[in-house]
Symmetry: C2
Subunit: 358 residues, 2 copies
């Protein structure tokens, strides 16, 4: 029997509810596919701040590092919004990404046929959208130094950050993206702002140089402002998109919203070695926390990504993804994706329905 150690980080808000469903789904699918799990539940974000005073306790990071994969719920909430930077839940997440060295963030934006009407885009524009945004996750302006608050030559206060990329950071994410594009539709669009920013000119130069090694991939370049437009005008023109940390933050969320159902979308963050980090793209939704209203599909699909990209357990991943589609086809919906004629259920009951389909 294959056996894996999984770190569970329920986090804040609806995190614990959706993680609990995903854990059950992992256990059941695992028992069918001959996979054993050892789960370690640890603190992150606001929950960690309240209990330990820091958003990423050392113990959480060391346990996460030693496990085979990390499954995260969500972090953050109004309660900690006014905290100083080093005491924000978000800082814990950034430290976790940095600590796990997961430089490649995979953000699929898939329109489920059953939910196409949830998109605010016209049916003919949204139908069939299936794109993957690959965001560089451990570099750029998120981590660049110098950063902080200062005084300029006129004695005025300033706030500043540094957008910086070194050659190997661009090369490894670009290589990763070329490989993903090869397994998908063979098209890669690199998004930058090379008409203005030196960091982007350098990005484009490295991507172009690497392209020599991937003659089978159709590479294009697009400015970030145009990409923000094209995602709305015609999202189906995109197959695989690769971009830097901050542009990826913006464009991957924009792409998600095109699907109309961000409660359905998982993500994976991977490094060269070591455990990957898997999490739904939605937030901690403090308004509905503890009310059994959360949509667990995105976390369940994150567990499927964990199996596929983190552990190489393709069959178990397929099983979970099929169970999600089957549950959708049987008409079960949480409030965020409900439409007349379907069956409205809570988080727990949806979890039970998914288990029936596993």
């Amino acid at each position: 029997k294959r056996s894996y150690t999984i770190t569970l980080l329920p986090g804040d808000g609806i995190g614990p509810e959706v993680i609990s469903v995903a854990k059950d789904v992992l256990l059941l699918s695992g028992s069918i596919e001959g996979i054993k799990y050892e789960f370690h539940e640890k603190l992150l974000g606001g929950a960690a701040l309240d209990a330990t005073g820091v958003p990423l306790p050392d113990e959480t990071l060391s346990v996460a590092k030693e496990s085979d994969a990390v499954l995260l719920g969500a972090i953050g909430g109004y309660k900690w919004d006014k905290n100083e930077k080093h005491l924000k839940p978000e800082t814990g997440l950034l430290q976790l990404r940095e600590g796990l060295k997961v430089f490649a963030n995979l953000r699929p934006a898939t329109v489920f046929p059953q939910l196409v009407d949830a998109s605010t885009l016209k049916r003919e524009v949204a139908e069939g959208v299936d794109l993957m945004v690959i965001r560089e996750l451990t570099g750029g302006i998120y981590f660049g130094k110098p950063r902080g608050f200062g005084t300029n030559e006129n004695g005025e206060e300033t706030g500043y950050n540094t957008e910086i990329y070194a050659a190997h950071e661009i090369d490894r994410i670009a290589r990763f993206a070329f490989e993903v594009a090869r397994k998908r539709g063979g098209k890669l669009c690199s998004v930058d702002k090379a008409n203005v920013l030196e960091a982007s000119m350098f990005w484009r130069k490295r991507v172009l140089a690497l392209a020599q090694e991937y003659p089978d991939i159709e590479l294009s370049h697009m400015y970030v402002d145009n990409a923000a437009m094209q995602l709305i005008r015609n999202p189906k023109q995109f197959d695989t998109v690769v971009t830097n940390n901050i542009f990826g933050d913006i464009l991957s969320d924009e792409a998600s919203m095109i699907t109309g159902s961000i409660g359905m979308l998982p993500s994976a963050s991977l490094g060269d070695s070591g455990p990957g980090l898997f999490e739904p793209i939605h937030g901690s939704a403090p308004d509905i926390a503890g009310q059994d209203k959360a949509n667990p599909f995105a976390t369940v699909l994150s567990a499927a990504m964990l199996l596929r990209y983190g552990l190489g357990e393709e069959k178990a991943a397929d099983r979970i993804e099929k169970a999600v589609l089957d549950t959708l086809n049987r008409g079960f919906r949480t409030a965020d994706i409900y439409s007349p004629g379907t069956k409205l259920v809570g988080c727990k009951q949806l979890g039970e329905e998914i288990l029936k389909s596993v």
Copy 2:
């Protein structure tokens, strides 16, 4: 008779075609409203590169500075895409913005009732969208130093830029935005990434401090990734939006595309004193340049903004805006906004129809 000096910068691609229409519309509406114009046509962008070797000749900047307002067509094209940074058409535009000190970029995104079906968003989502993005235009990562190419401590090549805002830069754009919001729906949404970036934390702090002076304005804050989503989910939630240079570049283009007809959208860039810069938001469209296919509406509406925001000539501005609506109502369309049942015309003929409506 009131008399103004206007610098015309036709630029590249379709620029000359749309500027020619806007000039005629200014002249006719001016003659009715008792306004006289002296036009100075100057070089910018690729046209300037070809003729003088630089994208913003000194003469263009000095003539522009001494005029009452500047009307720009569009710049750029494949021909100059591979140029080094200081020889790119875009660099000329950035230098012009800097030279004119136009720190506030106004980008209305308006859905014209006649064109609501051009949007890829569902009718009920797009209908009635009328928002204004105010983008800081002469600061942030576009101009921040240090910038360039370097070598890091491991001897590796890097590319880098600096996102930096000083107190007065934030205060003046925020003040500007509060004033615009006051004339519009009384709601201002400030977009930043204050959960990660110090430059954004500082931005938010200054905006919050200024809010004391505008108790009548309903101020909210939104992270840029969420804003990119909300613009698609429900654009009508926005009235006036204010944000930094790079986020504004991305979000104003995203907002434009929501209308489905970027050929209709003007922009204004204003400073504390001196001439404003007015231009359509679309690009130079080299593929259709010289073919009499360009849509001149956006440039004509930019001329209306020039009258309203640049010269304070409200009546002449109203007259032009009404002429545009009237021409739309009479069914005239260029190819980019054509739909069955309307009358397809070229750039020149559309110009003549607008003149009939002036």
